[in-house]
Each structure stands twice: as C-alpha cells, then as structure tokens.
C-alpha cells in the first residue's frame, strides 16, 4: 500500500506595518484617519495608564500589577476589531481592551488596588471579569458563543490569553469543543514570549502557536503583534467569520513583554538584556507614530496634545479611584449567592 499525505497545513503570518512605519497598501485595512488617530490615542492611554499603575504600586497605593508595556498594539488592535455587542473574556494583561471599550479607569485601578468591586463592569459592556487562573476562561468563551448562536444573536465572542495558557488543559478542551461544535469564537493569544520566566521555546516544541489550531480543525494565523494594523485586520476577519457562521479562528499576536511579569517579578534574573533591547526597536507605539507622521496625521504638537489629554484622563481615574469609600464587611456576603444561607446570615450578624 502506498503511503498517502492525509493533510497538510500552511500557517500564515500577517504583517502590514513595518518597524519604520511603512505600510503594505494591499493589506491596509479600511480605517478613516480619525480611527487611526484614535488607535494611537488609545495606545498612548494604555501606556500612560500602565506607567501610572507601576508608580502607584511602588507607592503602596496599588497591589501586585501585571504591566502591558510592549503589548499595546496587540491589545488596542484587537479591541478596535470588536463590535459593541460582542462578548469579551479577558485574562489579566489586557486592560487595553477595557480602556478602548470604555471601561472606567477608576474601576480598573480599584481592582488592582484589591477591591473586587472594580470587576463589576458597566452593564452595557459584555466583558467578563479578569481571569487570574491562567487559561481556565477559554471554555467560557466557547459556551457564550454557543449560547449566542442558540439565541441567533449576531454576536461573536473573543477570548484573550497569553502564551502560557497554551500549555493548559483547558486550552485543549476549549479549542477542541469550539472546533467540534463550530462555535463563533475567536481565540486571541498575546504571545509575549514569556510565561513569567519560561520562554515560549521551552513551553512548546511547536514552531508557532498558531499552528496548534489546525489540529482542532480550524485556522490559526500569526500576526505581527506589534503592528496594530495587522492585529486589527487579523482579529476583525476572524470575528466577521465567526459572526457569519464560519466557526472559530485562532489569532496568535506575536509580541513581547517589555516589562516584568508583574511588579513582584524581576525579569533581569532570567532574561538577556540584549533581547529586551532588540524589542525596544520594535516598539508598537513608535511604529504607529512613524506611520501616522508619513500620512500627515502626527507631529510633535499632536503628540504633546495627546499626552497631556491622556495624562488628565489617567489623573482623573486615579482621583476617582481614591475617592471610592472602602467596601463594607457585608460585601463579603452579598455576592456569594443570590440569597444567603442561614449560616451565612448568622455569620453576617456576628461581625
């Protein structure tokens, strides 16, 4: 019996904007100038929000915080691809999504300051609370997607996670379930190449993360995660396909965690400085500035204006966060279940 080739796969990589700000016009998504500028403004907002979080943590005004530095394009590009009715399941390093969707800054800081009330998003946003247990939220996105399809809602679901999550069992179970049931879900991995101290090459023997999707019967694509236009296009195409009944897609955004894992981590213990320096050259924000400048949409005056505006927004968020009165002890009991058990009711009285 001759041997046959039963399946072959091609893993695409999408890149639109190069580090010098040159764009591939054939792949350039249709985005009005105002949207391009808003993307830039959101990336500046994320970086400013992030830097302030680090400062607040050092001052003891915030708890442990996982910075997004370096991953602004992966987050903001994805967020721009979402429709307001779409559902979002974040992990814990995607506040750029929250900021773009209009989640109150004060509540984001409030959560990282150790107040769970920060997790109650505005009712008009379909955004799940942060998932701290790595990768365990992927099946939730599949469930929401199946529910949306059952309800015939024109909704797609996006779930965000890091490279570390791809080693977890729930990554497999969610991918497999999504493929088998053709769920309208988009899996977006911010591959920042480090799961705390373990580099992605030690997390998997696969050449890309994107290729894992083919084993589950749907496409995985790698996009340049520091290229906001490629991220936007890759995620948008995947969301459109999901809404049109085309099933799941996996988008791997190859980016880099410029900062420590969290404020409790010291990446210098395990990461060569040359590697970090090489990624500094590929800063997603610089790249977008260069592109916008070429289009006549960016100059120093505009940058200063954006920075000033963003600073005020973040300042206002910090002030609002610090004005929130501390939670009541009763808050411990209010949300464990819809109604307290007799014992919980007694424990509440005991205080």
């Amino acid at each position: 019996m001759p041997q046959e080739i039963l399946a072959t796969f091609n893993v695409r990589r999408l890149s639109i904007l190069d580090p010098d700000g040159n764009v591939d016009e054939a792949l350039m998504p249709e985005l009005p100038d105002a949207e391009l500028r808003r993307m830039y403004e959101m990336m500046v907002l994320l970086r400013t929000y992030d830097n302030r979080a680090l400062a607040l943590q050092r001052e003891g005004r915030l708890g442990t915080y996982p910075p997004s530095f370096g991953q602004e394009a992966a987050q903001i590009g994805s967020a721009f691809a979402l429709k307001p009715t779409d559902w979002v399941f974040p992990s814990f390093r995607e506040v750029g999504i929250h900021l773009t969707l209009g989640y109150p800054i004060a509540q984001l800081y409030q959560y990282w300051a150790g107040d769970e009330r920060g997790q109650r998003g505005p009712d008009h946003l379909n955004i799940f609370p942060f998932c701290v247990s790595v990768g365990t939220h992927l099946p939730h996105a599949v469930g929401a997607a199946l529910a949306a399809r059952y309800r015939k809602d024109p909704v797609a679901v996006a779930v965000f996670f890091g490279d570390g999550a791809t080693s977890k069992g729930d990554f497999h179970e969610a991918f497999n379930m999504a493929g088998a049931l053709n769920a309208p879900v988009v899996f977006v991995c911010q591959n920042n190449q480090w799961a705390i101290s373990i580099p992605v090459r030690e997390q998997t023997a696969a050449a890309t993360l994107a290729q894992k999707a083919f084993g589950y019967g749907f496409e995985g694509i790698q996009v340049d995660g520091n290229d906001v236009l490629a991220v936007y296009r890759g995620v948008k195409e995947a969301l459109d396909r999901a809404r049109d009944g085309g099933g799941p897609t996996f988008v791997e955004c190859l980016t880099y965690r410029m900062a420590d894992h969290t404020t409790a981590d010291d990446a210098a213990r395990y990461r060569p400085p040359e590697e970090v320096a090489s990624w500094r050259e590929r800063d997603p924000l610089l790249r977008l500035e260069r592109f916008l400048a070429r289009r006549g949409l960016w100059d120093e005056a505009y940058r200063n204006q954006v920075q000033e505006q963003v600073q005020q927004t973040v300042d206002a968020g910090v002030r609002a966060m610090e004005e929130i009165p501390p939670p009541e002890r009763s808050d411990l009991f209010t949300y464990t279940a819809a109604a307290p058990t007799p014992r919980q009711a007694a424990q509440l009285e005991e205080s």
Partner: protein
C-alpha cells in the same frame, strides 16, 4: 399516579423544564443520540433537538466550562458528568469559576446551572465510577449540593434546582436509579432546596442520612429512630436536625463516604455546637473507612451495611 423509578423521574423533570423554559440546555457525553449511559436523557434529543441536547466531546472541564459561559450569557445549562469520579477533571471549573463568578463580577454575571452526575457505590463498575466525594463540594462556598434519595424527591428537587439562580451539583445515587419505584405526580412540583425531611418519626434516636444510604437506614432501624433525609447537603438544614436531636437526645449520622472530613463531620460538629446539652451520649458516625474506593470484589467490605447502622443505633441507645 404512575410508579416511576429515579431515572424516569429525572427524565420527566428535565423534559418538563425544557418545555417550560427555553433557556434550559443539556450538554454532556453521550446524552443525545444515546440517551445517556444510564438512559436518564433518553428521548430528549429527539424531542428538543441537537441544539438543546448537545453531545459533546469527552471533556469534563470543557463541558462545565462551556456551561459556565452559557449560563453567563443567560441560558440555564445542565451539564452532565458521566460519573462523579470524572468530575475531578472539572473541579477547577467548578471551584475556580462556577462557584465564584457571581462574587468575582459583583453580581454582574451569575452561574445558574445544574451539574448532574451519578454518584455512589454498589453498581459493579470500574474504578472512579462509584465515588462518594460530596463533602469536597460542600466545603466550597457558592455552590449548592443536592442529593435525592428516591424518585419522588429527585423530580421535585431537580425542578427546584433548575430554577435556582446559582450553581447546583445534583448527585444522583446510581445504586438507587432503578431500585426504587414510587408514585410520582405527572405534573410539575418542586421541593425546596436547603430543607431536610423527617422520613420517619421516632423518639429515642435521630438518624441523619442522605442519598444512597437512606434506603439502608430505613431497613436497618426500628421505630425508636427518627430518620432524617438531608436532601440538600449545602446549605444543609441544621434546624430540622437540631430540633430532632433536642427531642431524642441521641444521634447517628450515616454516610457512604470515608469518615474523615466527610459531610457527617459537619453534622456532628453542628450538634456539638448547638445541642450538646441535650445529648445523652456520644454522637456516632457510620461511614466507609478512610481508604480508596475499591473495585466490586471488596465493595461489601467498604460500604456501610445495615448491621453497621443498627449496631451504631444500639450503641447510642445504651446511654
């Protein structure tokens, strides 16, 4: 009134609630075309379609995790785990998410779902098919644990669980699935969660049990015993237990699970805290030994027997 076994009663409850509420969706392994390995979901796939009775891949964590997302979206999913021992693969989803999503989101999202699973020993099945680890789930705030002991209560408790705003683990005593037939009303009726029932009144000793052991208790004890079926373990009905113990002055708790850290310990501790001055003697636990659940050849040496139960009752009656 029709005489049904527990399989039929549960099937009827599921069908009636699916008819009444289009948010109810079932998902699990072999529950559709096959009707479930115990036939509990038989006929539902044909009646309600593959969108509402979803045959899933073999994927316990994925099944419960998917159900959590469905519940957050506004459905009322009913994931089936084929045997409680396989729910260990889904503990992360149950503990990390189902039990706490209401809390984590400060009420923005909730998880109204019923995880159905057969539990308990005595069915001559392979490893991990006969576990009785209900206590694990009772320790985790945010999830209810319900254990019916017969067809009538299975139907009423399940209908109530399906209308509960929070996650419920519904443990179906596998040994009793087809053992007991009872009159089960055809129409809808509910039995409240968190309430125990006095199955048989007695004056001299309170015997507390639930699920599969209740059947043995009722055969093992005489008219001196007041027998209580907890029905809901979390939250459990302390008042009914305490009222009985204050009357009888003696108590025995019977569980199928290993003794140490079992749910019986919680009952005994509650009696000690709230009713110790009414006691005439020690409160005894009848339980399995603290060993791994055996395969069928040793099951009779493992499960509490009628002799164990009646000996414990005689022992406390000496005081």
């Amino acid at each position: 009134m029709p005489h049904l076994n527990m399989v039929q009663a549960i099937n009827q409850a599921l069908a009636q609630e699916m008819e009444r509420d289009d948010r109810v969706v079932l998902l699990g392994e072999d529950i559709g075309k096959d009707g479930g390995v115990f036939r509990v979901t038989e006929g539902l796939w044909e009646r309600f379609g593959a969108e509402r009775v979803i045959d899933t891949p073999l994927s316990e964590s994925g099944i419960v995790g998917t159900a959590i997302g469905m519940a957050a979206y506004g459905l009322r999913p009913v994931p089936e785990i084929q045997f409680l021992g396989f729910a260990y693969a889904a503990l992360d989803q149950i503990f990390t998410h189902a039990a706490r999503i209401r809390n984590r989101s400060r009420g923005r999202y909730s998880c109204p779902m019923v995880i159905r699973t057969p539990y308990g020993g005595g069915i001559k099945a392979p490893e991990l098919h006969e576990e009785s680890s209900e206590a694990l789930f009772c320790h985790m705030p945010g999830i209810k644990v319900v254990v019916p002991s017969g067809p009538y209560h299975a139907k009423g408790l399940l209908l109530q669980a399906l209308r509960d705003p929070d996650p419920v683990l519904f443990l179906e005593p596998t040994r009793l699935y087809r053992m007991i037939r009872e009159e089960v009303p055809e129409g809808e009726y509910t039995i409240p969660l968190g309430k125990a029932r006095v199955v048989r009144e007695g004056k001299q000793v309170t015997v507390v049990s639930w699920g599969s052991m209740l059947e043995r208790v009722l055969k093992a004890v005489g008219p001196e015993a007041e027998v209580i079926d907890l029905m809901t373990l979390s939250p459990f009905d302390a008042e009914t237990v305490l009222a009985s113990v204050r009357k009888t002055g003696r108590a025995v708790v019977v569980q199928e699970a290993p003794k140490t850290g079992g749910f019986g310990a919680e009952i005994v501790a509650t009696i000690a805290e709230e009713a110790i001055l009414y006691l005439r003697g020690p409160v005894l636990r009848v339980a399995a030994p603290d060993v791994t659940m055996p395969l069928p050849k040793l099951i009779d040496a493992y499960l509490p027997t009628m002799d164990h139960i009646s000996n414990a009752v005689q022992e406390v009656l000496r005081y």
